[in-house]
């Protein structure tokens, strides 16, 4: 076998060892939330945010703004590597905006906002 053929076969065989991976987000984005984005729910006792990538809990912020302004939320809990949870006080009916900012484990910051509504019990 010539060196050219050996070179080519080596390249092909090594390339075949690897398969195409599924694409990933590379930064921590909101995967889903509870209450769900845009949903109308009875007053929730907590807000849960699940991200697409692991995050650093010491560098995360969550704010909830209601019809009467900022809501006093509980401390940010970190029940999973990509999850945040905050306790909520009883919320009166109305529209609420959740603003979040997180830093992923590779130190890249991301942020966003979404709304949900609380209906009359």
């Amino acid at each position: 076998m010539t060196s050219r053929l050996r070179f080519a076969s080596y390249m092909v065989s090594m390339s075949l060892l690897f398969l195409r991976p599924p694409p990933t987000d590379a930064h921590a984005f909101l995967d889903h939330a509870d209450p769900r984005v845009g949903s109308t729910v009875p007053s929730p006792s907590a807000l849960t945010l699940q991200f697409t990538e692991s995050i650093e809990p010491a560098f995360c912020r969550v704010e909830v703004v209601g019809p009467a302004g900022n809501i006093e939320i509980g401390p940010i809990e970190h029940p999973g590597p990509a999850m945040l949870r905050v306790a909520l006080p009883p919320l009166p009916p109305g529209d609420y905006t959740v603003q979040w900012a997180v830093v992923s484990v590779d130190t890249h910051p991301t942020g966003g906002r979404f709304t949900f509504s609380v209906k009359h019990p």
Binding site: A58, F59, V103
Partner: protein, 278 residues
């Protein structure tokens, strides 16, 4: 902030690859020349400064998101995964500095330590955030690049020893490196770019295309060395050593451009970012 991280990320990658590559070259090719040792020492110095600056930049970036200040902020950053890996990288660098000062370091052992040390860098970045498989792929990619680039750097510093035997060893390292760099690079491209359209429309995709273009040029230059210049040196052709030296220098320049683009990819927003927040 992003521009500063990109610039220092470039120096970080270049210095890490030259330093670890020097140890890999010592084990796989030949002992470094005095000039080669000096290049490695400069790489440790550059990396020492860059690691401190990068830590400071990350502290500034994180300060906008945390509640702690001063010493508490430093402590919080060091407690992050990035911070813990930063400490490992600093300790690893200190260890490699000791090895460089040793009169007769055991090249096989230190090349292994240098290769493992590169894993901390892979875990710190995008690849590490995606899980173990992605981090291992990135690590293989970076180790292969380090072996290739390091061997070329050390070879270029061998002003008096352009022996055919050394050239053949560098050729073997380069060929193996290409066989590892290409599939792991393709893996990373599929991981970070979700569709072909984003490859052409996003800044990340365009930078990746530029990197692929330069990488193709580099593989072409490597092929010229593999099939033409090294056989000419083995055959004792006139001026073969000088021609090979020039080709290696050109490879190093193209390789440095590729490392710059790679560092840029580490800080550019992913195509997904633009779709979500744009």
């Amino acid at each position: 902030m992003t521009a500063a991280l990109a610039v220092f990320g470039c120096f970080d990658l270049l210095a890490s690859v030259v330093l670890a590559g020097g140890f890999l070259s010592a084990a796989l090719v030949t002992a470094p020349s005095p000039v080669g040792r000096r290049v490695s020492r400069v790489a440790t110095l550059v990396l020492g400064v860059v690691l401190i600056v990068e830590f400071a930049l990350i502290v500034v970036r994180m300060s906008a998101f945390g509640t702690s200040k001063g010493v508490g902020l430093l402590s919080d950053v060091l407690a992050t995964r990035w911070g813990e890996l930063w400490v490992i990288r600093v300790l690893g660098l200190a260890l490699l500095v000791v090895a460089l000062r040793a009169p007769h370091p055991r090249s096989q052992i230190w090349s292994g330590i240098a290769a493992v040390w590169l894993m901390a860098r892979s875990l710190q970045g995008h690849a590490g955030a995606h899980g173990a498989m992605s981090a291992v792929m990135d690590w293989i990619h970076v180790v292969a690049v380090a072996a290739w680039f390091g061997s070329l750097t050390q070879y270029a510093s061998l002003s008096d020893d352009l022996s055919a035997r050394t050239a053949v060893r560098v050729r073997r390292v380069a060929t193996t490196a290409v066989a590892l760099v290409v599939p792991t690079g393709v893996y990373a491209a599929f991981l970070h770019v979700p569709n072909i359209e984003q490859l052409f429309r996003s800044a990340y995709g365009k930078t990746l295309l530029a990197k692929i273009g330069f990488a193709t040029v580099l593989v072409g230059l490597g092929a010229a060395n593999h099939f033409r210049h090294v056989p000419a040196l083995i055959g004792g052709e006139e001026d073969a050593a000088r021609t090979l030296h020039r080709a290696v220098a050109l490879e190093l320049v193209v390789g440095a451009v590729i490392l710059l683009l790679s560092a840029l990819l580490g800080v550019l927003p992913m195509p997904h970012d633009m779709a979500t927040t744009g």
